[in-house]
């Protein structure tokens, strides 16, 4: 039986690692050198955040699982990330828009988590908030550049938004596990993030000449371990070495 704090920490960690992995897939393939460095740098931030969170999750669980055990030796149903981050990387517009939507949520989220009653979560958040500020700015600038760019860049961005929007609702979900932690002053209430996220999104979309979609039916399930087929393919890449050569180190 997972404790609420373990599940909560794992959700944060899995979001960071899966999105970090998706960004790392661009390494050597970005449209230009500067962007290659930027995407790899942002991937590194997220993977670093995931490492800290996994280490903490392992300590909470108390069964001796390390960050590596949690990252490399769990199968799909045990992953707790939102579906947004496991979507395949798509084109550059898709990647950068997803990064913006996620960072615009996580930046204010970490700001509040830095006041968590869980001291380790607070410390990790205080560190991560500085990194997410860069992600919001960098990805936001690109959303504007693409939206207000050429006909093709604008069309690709619009298409990416159509694909991504139904996956944004899951960021704001609260279940019983999380509600108890919110009440205890450990977790952040995503309802408090909504107005900040709306303001950031509306500002950037305005500059990018991008129409905000109406909130319709939203995809859900990742946080409960119900994933798309894409996560399995991602894990087969991420976990290949440890699955093939168990315990390998270098």
């Amino acid at each position: 039986m997972e404790t609420p704090l373990f599940t909560y920490t794992l959700r944060l960690a899995d979001n960071a690692l899966v999105l970090g992995h998706r960004l790392s897939e661009w390494c050597g393939h970005a449209p230009m050198l500067e962007e290659d460095l930027a995407l790899a740098n942002m991937a590194l931030d997220l993977i670093g955040q995931a490492r800290n969170l996994y280490t903490h999750a392992g300590a909470i669980e108390g069964k001796g699982r390390s960050e590596d055990d949690l990252a490399y030796l769990r199968d799909c149903p045990d992953w707790r990330n939102i579906l947004l981050v496991e979507r395949p990387r798509g084109d550059f517009a898709f990647t950068i828009l997803r990064q913006f939507l996620y960072a615009a949520f996580m930046h204010p989220y970490f700001e509040r988590l830095a006041a968590s009653k869980d001291e380790t979560l607070a410390a990790i958040a205080a560190k991560s908030v500085k990194e997410m500020a860069y992600h919001v700015r960098h990805a936001g600038e690109w959303v504007i550049r693409l939206g207000d760019g050429t006909e093709e860049s604008a069309a690709r961005l619009r298409e990416a938004l159509e694909d991504l929007w139904p996956f944004t609702g899951e960021m704001f979900e609260v279940d019983a596990v999380e509600q108890a932690l919110i009440d205890a002053g450990i977790a952040v209430d995503p309802a408090a993030i909504r107005p900040v996220w709306n303001a950031t999104v509306d500002h950037v979309f305005g500059e990018a000449l991008l129409a905000r979609p109406r909130d319709g039916w939203m995809q859900t399930g990742g946080r409960r371990g119900e994933h798309s087929e894409h996560l399995g393919h991602l894990l087969s890449d991420l976990q290949f070495m440890q699955r093939t050569y168990p315990g390998a180190t270098w």
Binding site: L37, E119, T120, A123, A126, K127, A133
Partner: protein
């Protein structure tokens, strides 16, 4: 714990002083002109019942140099003859460029990396307009090429006067 490091108190504890000197002399593998003391990555050197404890903090969550710094600190202490020792990683308080020493900033500039400008005051430092002087010719006529540079802690800039590209140590 703010900008002030927990230096060993003047207790005549020779081993603690030696440990501090050894740890403070370790250089950052990515920016080898700076010691971890210059950078503010070295947070404390103390004695407890298990021996000497050295506390270090990462610049960025994903800083790949941390493991190597920890190993190098451990080796430096071993060389100094300290057998009972531990290197501990601490995340709180979060590292800021405000902890970088003035001497460290000067060493960075001489090495060709523009040091962080001003104080890291959250969003103002991140979203304000930065004026970064070229570390080569001193010109203020510079522009940012990319927010992200050769390492997590640096951005890529170029000088419009001497035309040289340079790294800027980001202010966080």
């Amino acid at each position: 714990m703010g900008a002030v490091l927990s230096f060993p108190p003047e207790t005549g504890d020779a081993e603690l002083a030696a440990a501090h000197a050894a740890a403070a002399s370790v250089c950052d593998p990515e920016v080898p002109v700076l010691t971890i003391a210059d950078l503010g990555v070295l947070r404390a050197v103390t004695r407890n019942e298990n021996g000497i404890e050295v506390v270090i903090t990462p610049t960025y969550s994903g800083c790949p140099a941390m493991d190597m710094i920890a190993v190098q600190v451990d080796l430096a202490l071993e060389k100094a003859g300290i057998t009972r020792r531990k290197v501990r990683l601490s995340l709180s308080p979060a590292w800021t460029t405000d902890w970088m020493s003035e001497a460290g900033k000067e060493k960075l500039r001489a090495y060709g990396i523009a040091p962080p400008v001003g104080k890291a005051q959250g969003r103002a430092a991140l979203f304000g307009v930065e004026e970064v002087a070229c570390p080569h010719c001193g010109s203020a006529e510079t522009e940012r090429v990319s927010e992200f540079g050769s390492t997590a802690c640096k951005a890529h800039w170029r000088c419009l006067s001497c035309r040289e590209p340079f790294d800027y140590f980001k202010c966080i």
